[in-house]
Symmetry: C2
Subunit: 203 residues, 2 copies
């Protein structure tokens, strides 16, 4: 089993943090995004959707998509549970994972991809107006997350989950997107610091 990885991109980091929280480690194969290796014929044969991460099982089966890879390991190694336990908690974790992904991570990524010179080849056409339109959306999501954190340590409740991973990766990615996290969001800041302080954050 091996993981197609890039240390430059935020999505593989989600999987690396998840694996570290599970106490698992995997051999990795680096995909050179700078040279658009994810669009090469060899890699496209593995993942026609041309993105990392991708997990290759011993029989050659490919599981692509960060959250699908995480769920695979959750099913194989349920402890500690990172997708919740029981119907309501599982739905709540999924809700927050998606809110953080769709309302925070994606706008941050769009702001980066449509403004950074290094993304010119990958994101064509690069649309500066779209980059700018995503910044207030990311900030609005941060304010909502800050509000939600008023009654709990982690975004989906008392327990660290995959939703927190998406949140940390999104917040760390704001630097590349040149989005400043507002200082007054004290709960967001406390949460980010707690997540960044876990050993998994270095994965």
């Amino acid at each position: 089993m091996r993981l197609y990885n890039s240390n430059l991109a935020p999505n593989p980091r989600r999987v690396r943090i998840f694996l570290a929280e599970k106490g698992l480690s995997l051999p990795t194969v680096d995909v050179d995004l700078g040279r658009l290796e994810q669009k090469s014929a060899v890699f496209s044969a593995l993942n026609p959707f041309q993105a990392v991460p991708a997990l290759e099982l011993d029989d050659g089966t490919i599981i692509a998509e960060s959250i699908a890879i995480c769920r695979y390991f959750e099913e194989l190694h349920p402890d500690p549970p990172l997708f919740g336990v029981g119907p309501l908690e599982r739905a709540t974790v999924e809700m927050w994972q998606r809110r953080l992904e769709l309302s925070l991570f994606f706008p941050v990524a769009q702001a980066f991809r449509h403004s950074h010179p290094a993304m010119k080849a990958m994101e064509s056409p690069q649309i500066k107006e779209w980059a700018e339109a995503n910044k207030p959306r990311a900030l609005a999501a941060m304010a909502r997350v800050d509000e939600a954190l008023s009654d709990r340590p982690f975004i989906a409740g008392e327990r660290f989950t995959v939703a927190d991973i998406t949140g940390l990766v999104a917040l760390d990615f704001t630097r590349s997107a040149r989005i400043a996290i507002p200082e007054e969001l004290a709960r967001l800041k406390r949460w980010r610091e707690a997540l960044a302080g876990r050993p998994s954050a270095k994965a």
Copy 2:
């Protein structure tokens, strides 16, 4: 229990189809998206992320996000399984649900939201260049899905799943986005017709 719904938007349709496939029905409350009711103070108190669908449980707990709502019902009513059974199938369903959502449904939705006059108030600024940039992405995803369907009836394998629901809703939404599905994608067409012919598609 009740579902905040809109018959105009594609996301609530995903939940309605899912419930129909499970043989479940729920009282619904219509949210008037034409009047931006999802951004009203009353609705924002229920879902600060201002989107439908949202599920309200009897104790007032809210589960937002289509796929989180679907997963809640999957956990409560596992048969028929629509998220897969066992680690590999569950990961595969999640992979395809996400590929169809991120590579097909979202580009179709962006093409619609950034071009249609009815979306001017909801999508501000409306960026025509971004609408156009999404059309070739949606078409590329359709070609990949067509290819994947060469060895199986449903997108994640032998079984109908939530990934097929996302695919059908995305394909049906191409009309609003003014994206023509290429006639030569025969497997995509066969799949869409099979999905559209299920009673749940009318939900």
